[in-house]
Symmetry: C2
Subunit: 332 residues, 2 copies
């Protein structure tokens, strides 16, 4: 600071450039460069009473959805001149609340809390620092509590199923997984609704123990005979990993996808596109979720009092790939 001229002026060039004449601004800039000056964010936050950082806690970094969420959130935060700090909870309650506390102490401008599980929400809602803008991602919560941004899984299930029907499939199977997972349950509801709207009867629903590729492999193997017999011509799997396993098993058994049976997955995972037969899937708007969430939290931070909580539900989208291209055979 002594390099150029004053002291409080330096602050002005940093925060209110308009108040400062061009020449002094330059002098100060030069001095800062020469001194390798790095403003102290802590002091700034303390003095200004506000902080240009927002925090996000993610439940599972191995799920690309959440990585997308982070990317979207960073995009928005960055655009607003804020930094995004990521914390990973590995779905552990204890770590979720620890990270919440850390963010509260850091006096971040706001928090994006991403949860998978409604139970965790109940358990943790007490830990969310009152008075600190917090928006829930991936879980719809009462607007009386906070803003939230989630994705309509029931709609996604409906879209996947309707797509199968519209491309001529009639004998449909839903492959789910443990009913305890909220998203799976909702996707299954969407399946049922779409089937019902067309007055079709689902062939059946299958619930393997998990939702991974190996589970899909098992399901696929079990379905080979029914497909050959023409009893099944469309499969909606609740996750892409499941779908990939199914397709893999079917292919290995000589069943043609999509000629003999169409398969649709969910999530738009790498497993879906990086497959010998690319798999049609429902893409979750992860980046949008992050972006919208960050915008909401920043809005709440900026207008604390006029702010009204909102609950947004985003729509997933259908990504058509080879595994469900219309079959040559006539529908029916």
């Amino acid at each position: 600071m002594l390099a150029g001229v004053s002291l409080g002026t330096v602050s002005n060039v940093l925060n209110h450039p308009s108040r400062v004449s061009a020449v002094t601004a330059q002098k100060v800039a030069r001095a800062m460069a020469k001194l390798d000056y790095v403003p102290d964010g802590n002091a700034r936050s303390l003095a200004a009473g506000s902080n240009r950082t927002i925090g996000i806690v993610l439940p599972d970094l191995s799920n690309s959805l959440f990585v997308d969420v982070a990317r979207g959130a960073e995009d928005s935060a960055d655009r607003a001149g804020h930094a995004l700090m990521i914390a990973n909870s590995d779905t552990r309650l204890e770590r979720e609340s620890r990270h919440l506390r850390t963010f509260a102490q850091a006096r971040v401008a706001g928090i994006l809390l991403t949860l998978n599980d409604e139970d965790h929400y109940e358990a943790i809602v007490g830990d969310t620092p009152k008075n600190l803008p917090t928006v829930m991602l991936n879980l719809a919560v009462p607007v009386s509590r906070s803003c939230s941004v989630s994705v309509d899984n029931e709609l996604g299930g409906w879209m996947a199923t309707t797509h199968l029907i519209e491309t001529g499939r009639r004998r449909l199977v839903f492959v789910g997984g443990p009913e305890s997972l909220d998203p799976v349950r909702d996707r299954s509801k969407g399946f049922a609704r779409a089937v019902g709207e067309r007055s079709l009867q689902p062939v059946r629903a299958i619930s393997p123990p998990g939702v991974n590729r190996a589970d899909g492999w098992g399901v696929g193997t079990a379905l080979v005979d029914e497909i050959r017999a023409g009893v099944v011509d469309g499969i909606f799997a609740a996750t892409d990993l499941l779908a990939a396993g199914i397709v893999q098993a079917l292919t290995a058994a000589g069943v043609q996808v999509p000629e003999d049976v169409a398969v649709v997955g969910y999530d738009n995972n790498q497993a879906a596109w990086d497959s010998p037969i690319p798999i049609t899937t429902i893409a979750q708007p992860g980046e949008d979720m992050g972006r919208v969430g960050a915008d909401l939290v920043l809005e709440e931070a900026q207008r604390r009092f006029e702010h009204q909580h909102r609950s947004l539900v985003l729509e997933p989208s259908l990504v058509v790939r080879a595994s469900s291209r219309p079959s040559a055979r006539p529908p029916g």
Copy 2:
């Protein structure tokens, strides 16, 4: 603070509990609870001149290796009473240096910088705030510059290849990828060394355009005839995705793995274990890398002056799975 008694005492109960009598400590604790008191981390850092946070910048959150690194780092940081802030650069130079700057302004205790690419290191080394403990992860750099922790890819390649040889394979193929990737090049060197040590001749090396499942599928398809002809009986693929694609293509073509050919991958990805035929692979000690890195950075932060930079190279490990179980056929 006024709830109990004093002011500076509150600080003591937070930082030097030993100086405070049990009764006052309790009174203060009770008051803090009643007031929902959350200490201001910014003020603490400012006053104390130190910060209980370390930052890590990761190049790619969709790579489970780096997620593991973060997990390990958080583990160590946590144990030392520090919080870990994650920033994702998506391998973009511009974001790497932005995050570095953010951490510098936040006056974190230290930074873990994880890079994939030597070029980025050269470009960014100027941005790493001098005077702020920084350790490089995943890339070995001159100890004159900073500490670093990396994994020995050449050794990994050697281990994978030696495993193939020791389980009786003699006609080996290396499947790499773009030579521009440092890790691929090192793994290939390890392959060459292992083969050379046994005075074998590699059948050949294949460099598909990428290192994903689809690339592997192509390579696998191309190798079917040679395997049937007995010209090839072992494959070392530079990534698990590649290996998974290869196994998938071979299986689809009716080639038996591991009976007809053994396959070894690299990375210990989900793709390796979540495959119908689980794939033998080389596991990178990601968590260890993070843990050791965090320990180093904290050590440097605590003893600024006595600190000597160190360069640690960790060893990968072999994970044997079905894809390379010794074949029934006699070796030779």
